[in-house]
Each structure stands twice: as C-alpha cells, then as structure tokens.
C-alpha cells in the first residue's frame, strides 16, 4: 500500500507513515481547529494499514505542541494501535520525544502511557 505523507506547516503536523518499513512518524505542531476533519484521512490510512496483522510497528511521536482537540485524535490513534498490539498479533512500540526541559510534554506522554496498553519509551529530542 501507498505510504502516507503530510508536509507540516504552522498549525499542521508533519506525518510520515511508511507501510514498508513500518515506521510511523508524526512531528511539529497541531492546533488545527477542526481536527476531526484534518485527521480523518490519517485515520482512514491507519485503518487500512492495520488490517494487515502481525507487523512490528514503531511509532515515533515528535510533537512540539498540540491542542487538546488534537490530543483526542492522538488518543484515537493510540487506541487503534493498542487494538493491533493486543488483538492482531502485532507488536507496537511508541517512542515519545520531548525537548530538553519541556516537562509538560514528557508528562503528556506519561498520561497516554497510563491510559493505553502500549509500551512507551521516552527520549529527549536532539
């Protein structure tokens, strides 16, 4: 299947989902006001991608800022990945990156880790 790419700008994140290497990356900023609409194609791609079982997926989360509306969309993505990890013989790892000193972003990652059943690693962004 085709890879999925969005070039980020101001309030829109960069998205690079690779169906061959199984590396999914998202980064930058996300404060689009209509996040359901913006994330809809991303969800659609993920749904099709996750229909193929048993892959080992790495999700690199490199966001610098996002609003609470985007935070709901990320929760939906993590829920989809959790389902894949638990029920589709898949293996998903989340690598959560944050800038040195940005403990708010670290805490946001810890809150997802508490809420969804996926292994999270935390790294300081270079």
């Amino acid at each position: 299947m085709e890879n999925f790419t969005i070039n980020g700008k101001l309030f829109i994140p960069s998205v690079n989902f690779n169906a061959e290497t199984h590396l999914l990356e998202i980064g930058g900023e996300s404060y689009h006001e209509f996040t359901k609409e913006f994330y809809q194609p991303i969800m659609e791609w993920l749904k099709n991608y996750l229909a193929i079982p048993e892959n080992t997926i790495v999700f690199n989360f490199k966001m610098n800022y996002y609003n609470t509306s985007s935070s709901r969309r990320f929760l939906e993505i993590f829920d989809m990945l959790e389902d894949y990890h638990t029920n589709k013989n898949g293996h998903v790892t989340v690598n959560w990156y944050y800038q040195a000193g940005d403990l708010d972003m670290l805490e946001s990652g810890e809150e997802y880790a508490e809420d969804v059943g996926l292994p999270f690693n935390f790294f300081v962004m270079n």
Binding site: F11, Y65, N67, T68, S69, L103
Partner: protein, 180 residues
C-alpha cells in the same frame, strides 16, 4: 469618553500592559500570528508555550461555544466570535477571553468551572485523562488544560445581558516564576 485616537489608544494599551488583543473570529491564521509573536519574545521558553496553549484553548472554546457567530470564508462555516486579550507585567501574564453564551448553558458552564477549581494538581491530571474519553461536547478538557498550564484557578464572571445571552469572561494568570 475614552480617547480612541491612535495616541490615546496606544496609551490605554500601555496602561493596561496589553501585549496582544483580538476581537472577532479566532481562526487558525490568527492563532499562528499569536504563536509567532510569543515565540519571538520568549524563544524556547516553556512559559510562553503555556501562555500560547491557554490562548489556543480559549480560542477553541469561543469558536465552538460562543452564541455570537459569523460566517468564516476560509473555514466555510459559521464560527463563534469573541475577544482574547493577553497582558504582561513583570510577574505574570494574564490571558482573558470573553464571549456570549446562551442563558440555558450557563448552569453547566458554572458547574464545570467550580468543579475544576476544587481539584488539586494530581486530581486534575486524573480528571483530564478521564474527561478526554468523554464525548467531545460534554467534556471539560479545554478548561482543565488551561488550569493545568497556568497553575492557577479559573477566574470567571457571568454577566446576564438579556433574556437570551450571558457574557462569559475568563481570566487566567501564568506566573513568570512558576515551577517548571
């Protein structure tokens, strides 16, 4: 009568330590300007990021819940209108938002604000995680986020305008010496 010539207006802005004020439709373009402005003044600063996140959540609430709406050409839909003001002194930023809400929505809004103000930091964290799983128009995630980013309670005021509308004012301060 206030002096609203450019000179008079500049003086009012200075007297009230206003660094940014906007009234109307809070679109993404406007928010990007705010973000850019804050980042230029305080680059790579966690505090300016917190101030910005409060502005974003306020703008989102105005867009979704203001009872004063207008058609946005860039968004191709009706969006709410309101006012956002940021003031800055040596000790703190105060971010204000104001918009009309329908009278019948006032009790639930009041309840949400009071409930949030009664919670401590750890409870707010749990409440945030819990609320994020609720349907989008029932949750208080945006308000909880504002309190968590500011470290201070919501200061709010509801002033009845007429039989349909109440003016909702929210003020949130971010201390400059807040723990990071």
């Amino acid at each position: 009568m206030p002096d609203l010539t450019p000179y008079g207006f500049a003086k009012i802005i200075e007297e009230h330590n206003i660094v940014l004020a906007f009234q109307g439709m809070m679109t993404n373009d406007i928010l990007s300007v705010v973000a850019n402005n804050l980042q230029k003044k305080h680059p790579d600063d966690v505090m300016s990021k917190r101030v910005f996140s409060i502005v974003v959540e306020m703008a989102q609430n105005i867009n979704l819940y203001s009872s004063e709406v207008a058609y946005s050409e860039s968004d191709k839909r009706q969006v709410g209108q309101g006012t956002v003001v940021i003031s800055e002194t040596a000790d703190e930023h105060i971010i204000y938002s104001g918009n009309l809400v329908e009278n019948d929505k006032v009790p639930s809004l009041l309840e949400k604000c009071n409930r949030i103000n009664a919670l401590g930091p750890d409870q707010l964290r749990e409440y945030f995680i819990e609320q994020r799983r609720l349907p989008e128009d029932e949750d208080s995630v945006g308000l909880v986020e504002m309190v968590r980013k500011s470290g201070n309670p919501l200061v709010f005021d509801l002033e009845n305008i007429d039989s349909h509308n109440t003016f909702f004012t929210l003020a949130i301060s971010v201390n400059k010496k807040a723990k990071q």
